[in-house]
Symmetry: C2
Subunit: 146 residues, 2 copies
């Protein structure tokens, strides 16, 4: 059951991201690794789902397949990813990161995962407690998705 406190917790998290850090941060990282936001997003997706089918990307993002063609073209032109034939179904292509793609991805995650300075306002015990609660949420979300 979700209580009023839970609702307010979500609302606060939402504001932290939307009013706060996220939009500016993504823009900053996008510039730092010299990739348009769409390409950065694709790189992040591929690093979490290596060897993904192109169709999966379109489904996941609820966008048209032709746009995925454009995005993967962009990553290939920059030498960050490459298409591979599917071992069984010859209509399908999968996408894997190249060594260069992995390097850029790692740099991107380094910047994205760096906590906002505001986290220093919590003491050690509080930071541990926050991690604990959020991991519980993430587990529940993962379980619901599958």
């Amino acid at each position: 059951m979700i209580t009023k406190a839970g609702q307010e917790a979500w609302r606060t998290m939402f504001d932290l991201f939307l009013a706060g850090d996220l939009p500016e941060r993504v823009g900053r990282v996008s510039k730092a690794v010299d990739l348009a936001p769409g390409l950065l997003k694709a790189l992040v997706y591929l690093s979490l789902h290596d060897d993904a089918r192109m169709r999966d990307l379109a489904d996941q993002w609820s966008c048209d397949a032709s746009y995925i063609t454009t995005v993967i073209d962009g990553l290939e032109e920059r030498g960050l990813a490459k298409r591979e034939p599917h071992p069984i179904d010859r209509r399908v292509k999968t996408v894997v990161l190249t060594a260069k793609g992995i390097t850029v991805k790692e740099r991107a995650f380094e910047l994205l995962y760096e906590p906002p300075k505001a986290f220093a306002a919590l003491n050690s015990a509080e930071q541990r407690e926050l991690r604990h609660l959020l991991l519980k949420l993430a587990d529940a979300q993962l379980a619901a998705a599958s």
Copy 2:
């Protein structure tokens, strides 16, 4: 000081949003209130900063002033906001929501602030604790911004 636990907490929060709910949710709300994402974002901004100067919007979003003209045109065409002259500086225009704009905004926030089902995985005490920690973060972030 930010500990390893704090870092992991941030990372988890980030994944909750980016891998998880947020992108799809904004798209859903955007369709529900029949506003393109850019216009929805402007509506949200104006509801938090009523009577904002157009220049403020451009600064806040780090975008060109001409784009703000386009966005506010869009809101005005839909009867959701209107430009007002600045009482002192006649170069400046401010933007306020209309009654209709306020109605749409309220519907949008209702949908955006609805917690993901995963929150039910936390018991009452945990939801209160999470709220407490997040409010502390939000306060610190607000203090840092000003």
